[in-house]
């Protein structure tokens, strides 16, 4: 062993502070209201503003309002999968037990939001493009992301020994992360029916500020909502495993005696 702690040891120490389930439950209970209530308020304000008060688009008319749900859903579909990949690294390298529990809980939430993104996109595509679906690079790569989520959900629950499921699912999460830059850059690398991004890091947004504000609020609100649901589910999973441990330990002792 080295005298000075290595990067992995120091990072592991940091991560493992919150691997303690008791500490996580305490932190989670404190964090939960700060995620849930802002999420509810911001989502309601953002969607209300976007759906009823923001102006219609000059050529898309009122159909543009699908954007206020579709764009946050699309961002979270990718963001949630990035979270899964991060949990995968924590699980494979540091054997972090909470990362495994979080990965179990992120999967279904991410799959739902990806389905919402695909469904709203399809509803938007029909009146605007004239088609429900095309096999262009953006649409196809998001569909692949949806199947990756489904695969992850199935794989992590597929083994009798949960540890083996966690390992396998972590590898799938990391391998699938290759899809994330493909989704992001698909509209730049290839020509697609889907339009390029309106909001970029380098240029001014090609969207009127009267639409950008409600979009920003609903994105923030739905993101916080995603985090709130994942934290709540992970807390429930920790408590569930504690209850299982409590229930099974006296019986084991009784059986041994």
């Amino acid at each position: 062993m080295n005298a000075t702690p290595t990067f992995t040891a120091r990072a592991g120490g940091f991560f493992h502070r919150y691997a303690n389930p008791g500490r996580f439950l305490k932190l989670g209970a404190r964090l939960q209201p700060w995620l849930t209530w802002p999420a509810v308020v911001l989502t309601l304000v953002g969607l209300g503003w976007g759906l009823f008060f923001s102006p219609a688009d000059w050529q898309q008319g009122d159909s543009v309002r699908i954007m206020y749900i579709h764009v946050p859903a699309a961002m979270l579909a990718s963001g949630g999968y990035a979270g899964l990949a991060l949990c995968g690294v924590l699980s494979l390298v540091w054997r972090h037990p909470l990362a495994d529990l979080a990965a179990v809980e992120i999967g279904p939430v991410g799959a739902c939001i990806t389905a919402l993104c695909l469904a709203t996109g399809s509803l938007w595509g029909k009146p605007m493009w004239g088609t429900w679906w095309v096999w262009d690079a953006r649409l196809t790569s998001v569909l692949v992301l949806f199947f990756l989520y489904l695969g992850h959900i199935a794989l992590i629950r597929a083994f009798d020994d949960p540890q083996r499921g966690y390992r396998a699912a972590a590898i799938l999460a990391l391998a699938g992360a290759v899809d994330l830059p493909i989704i992001k850059f698909s509209v730049q690398w290839w020509n697609t029916l889907h339009q390029p991004d309106s909001i970029t890091l380098t240029g001014a947004p090609t969207m009127s500020s009267s639409m950008l504000w409600p979009l920003g609020l609903s994105t923030l609100g739905i993101s916080l909502g995603f985090a709130a649901i994942v934290v709540a589910r992970t807390r429930a999973a920790v408590m569930e495993s504690r209850i299982r441990a409590l229930l099974s330990s006296p019986r084991r002792k009784g059986g041994a005696a």
Partner: protein, 176 residues
Amino acid sequence: MTRKTRRLWLVIACVACLGTAAGLILRAFSSDIVFFVTPSQVVAAPPPKDRTVKLGGMVVAGSVKREKRGETPISTFDVTDGQASVTVHYEGILPDLFREGQSVVAIGTATPPHDFAAAEVLAKHDETYMPKEVAEALKKAGKWDPRFGPPPSATSWNQMTVQDARKDISAAPATN
């Protein structure tokens, strides 16, 4: 090297290899991943007559001719990418977003040298979102004619409110 460090490097190496492999595959199939070909590609290398092609480009201003045969509308329009243009013939109802200056994708077969028989026409909208009043104000100010392409730089209009735009419209002299 501790076990954790070794595992970290292993994960990094695997992800890097996988990323490279995916990148190479996508590069190799790049020409198949594109959703449409441009008019200059069709003119330069006409595809075989029985092959379905997706042709993408901008509808040339003033080129749209609409007629009716019985109940079916028939339309003819030129699609350009700035270098070459192809005349598209289409029988059926065009999507709502179809207009001069709009980007469209026509799915059908090319009949060389410059004609294209479309079985389906899709409208492709660009990444600009603005209220009707702002578009109107830009048109009135002579900064933008949607028939000839995308709007001017976003900084010139993305802070303009609907009220500002209405004021501009009423202040501008009626030109058309």
